[in-house]
């Protein structure tokens, strides 16, 4: 289980890594490199005692991880009959996601490659069982015994080759193949991922599909760069009604964005045909931008997931002249 921090480099001990770090696809941008731990060192080295301790000391990390786990469990859509299930937590780390599973009354088995993180989980006295293992080597589990699997921010690590023997495609294949086998028919796996770019997302998804999974990607808050979260929702077995991909959060009001784009189109054609046209006229008249504009902007912010005051009769009202 990992988290992307923008300010983590300063306190990192310097790991001199001699192996070349090969990403499957070119990195999206240099400025984001610093916030991607999988580009810095292999997981078992990156999550050393120092990094693992952050997971017990930082309430911000805990809060984000717990939120992600809750959403993942929600997407898992286990039958609401009060029967505890046996779940798998892939990349369980310090057990923050496991605690969410326990709170929901289920049993779980957690797998992680970092011993330091598992030690933190032991200190936290989590209720699930912990395994030290590498998901890229395949999950050594009997077929059809697991009722569901979640994974928080772990699967994208598979896309990196950390050792000369690592071949990301083979590791993805081994992981998804063994995950498919160990899940019961009709069970779901919800994997929250931070793919680096489009190619990586497609790579992960294509190996999931090739292993026999049905499903797709659910994106929460697609309009926001900060709150945007992606979940791979995979169903074991042939496509059916239950394998339909649920919809993401913060997506409603798509018709609004359509209106905007059609409005822009008019301006664009003018731009091309007449270059000597005066600079873009702002639609500000004596009355200001108007209530409609304010409502549209507020709606935009809402879609990004920001907290916006409700629309009332006072919204964008006219002030008296003395103001």
């Amino acid at each position: 289980m990992i988290l992307y921090l923008t300010l983590q480099n300063s306190s990192r001990p310097s790991h001199t890594l001699k192996l070349p770090r090969v990403a499957v696809a070119p990195a999206a941008g240099v400025d984001r490199m610093s916030s991607r731990p999988e580009l810095q060192a292999p997981p078992e080295i990156f999550y050393d005692d120092v990094e693992a301790r952050k997971y017990t000391s930082s309430s911000r990390i805990a809060e984000i991880q717990t939120k992600l786990s809750e959403r993942a469990l929600e997407l898992l859509a286990l039958p609401d009959d009060g029967v505890p299930r046996l779940l798998l937590d892939i990349g369980c780390g310090s057990g923050l996601s496991g605690e969410t599973i326990t709170e929901n009354g289920h049993q779980w088995i957690g797998l992680d490659i970092s011993e330091s993180m598992l030690n933190v989980a032991l200190q936290n006295e989590v209720e699930g069982d912990l395994l030290l293992g590498d998901m890229g080597q395949g999950l050594g589990l009997r077929p059809g015994v697991i009722d569901g699997a979640i994974s928080i921010s772990a699967v994208q690590w598979l896309c990196n080759a950390d050792k000369s023997s690592h071949e990301p495609r083979l590791r993805l294949k081994a992981f998804f193949g063994s995950l498919y086998r160990c899940l019961a028919r009709g069970a779901r796996a919800v994997l929250q991922v931070y793919p680096e770019n489009l190619a990586q997302r497609e790579l992960i998804l294509s190996y999931a599909m090739r292993s026999g999974f049905a499903g797709g990607v659910v994106v929460d808050y697609p309009h926001s760069t900060k709150k945007r979260k992606e979940y791979l929702v995979l169903t074991c077995g042939p496509p059916s009604l239950s394998s339909a991909v649920p919809s993401g959060k913060g997506k409603e009001g798509e018709s609004c964005s359509d209106d905007e784009s059609s409005g822009d189109e008019e301006n664009q054609t003018v731009c091309i045909s007449d270059r000597h046209r005066p600079r873009k006229k702002q639609k500000v008249n004596k009355k200001g931008k108007g209530r409609e504009w304010v409502l549209r902007k507020k709606d935009q912010m809402r879609r990004k997931g920001n907290v916006v005051p409700p629309d009332t009769k006072y919204t964008a009202r006219k002030r008296k002249a003395r103001f």
Binding site: G82, V83, P84, R85, L86, Q107, I109, I113, L118, N119, L122, E127, D129, L130, L131, L132, G133, D134, Q137, G138, L139, G140, L141, R142, G144, V145, I146, D147, K163, S165, A174, S178, C182, A184
Partner: protein
């Protein structure tokens, strides 16, 4: 590690066809009290490989379980059986020891209750 997890684990070494059940080498067993949940036991019962489960419990020093898989009907009525099943499945922890692959004899050490299932490069 509980016997629940042991019952689901199998050896993942390349070329191994029968990696289940892993033999247990016991150094230290601890017991932790867990609240019993009958629904969970009924749900998990069909998935448990009984032979491997009762053998494992015996290795851990718990001999109360029947050797043959009981009829699922006992789950509805027999509270005594449910309690034993619960105890063996969720309350016995292998704290120190090892798991041994039945085919290759490769040992997976168990430290502080965490089995180390990492494979060497030539085993993948």
């Amino acid at each position: 590690m509980r016997l629940l997890t042991h019952n689901m684990l199998s050896s993942n070494i390349k070329g191994v066809t029968k990696g289940f059940p892993l033999k247990i080498e016991v150094e230290k067993v601890v017991e932790k009290q867990v609240e019993i949940n009958h629904d969970f036991l009924r749900n998990i019962f069909p998935k448990v490989d009984w032979k491997a489960f009762s053998d494992a419990a015996r290795t851990m020093g718990y001999v109360e379980l029947p050797e043959q898989a009981p009829d699922p009907s006992v789950l509805e009525s027999d509270l005594d059986f449910l309690t034993k099943f619960h105890h063996a499945l969720l309350e016995l922890h292998l704290e120190e020891g090892a798991l041994v692959c039945p085919e290759t004899g490769r040992k997976f050490p168990v430290n502080k209750g965490i089995p180390n299932m990492l494979l060497h490069e030539d085993e993948v």
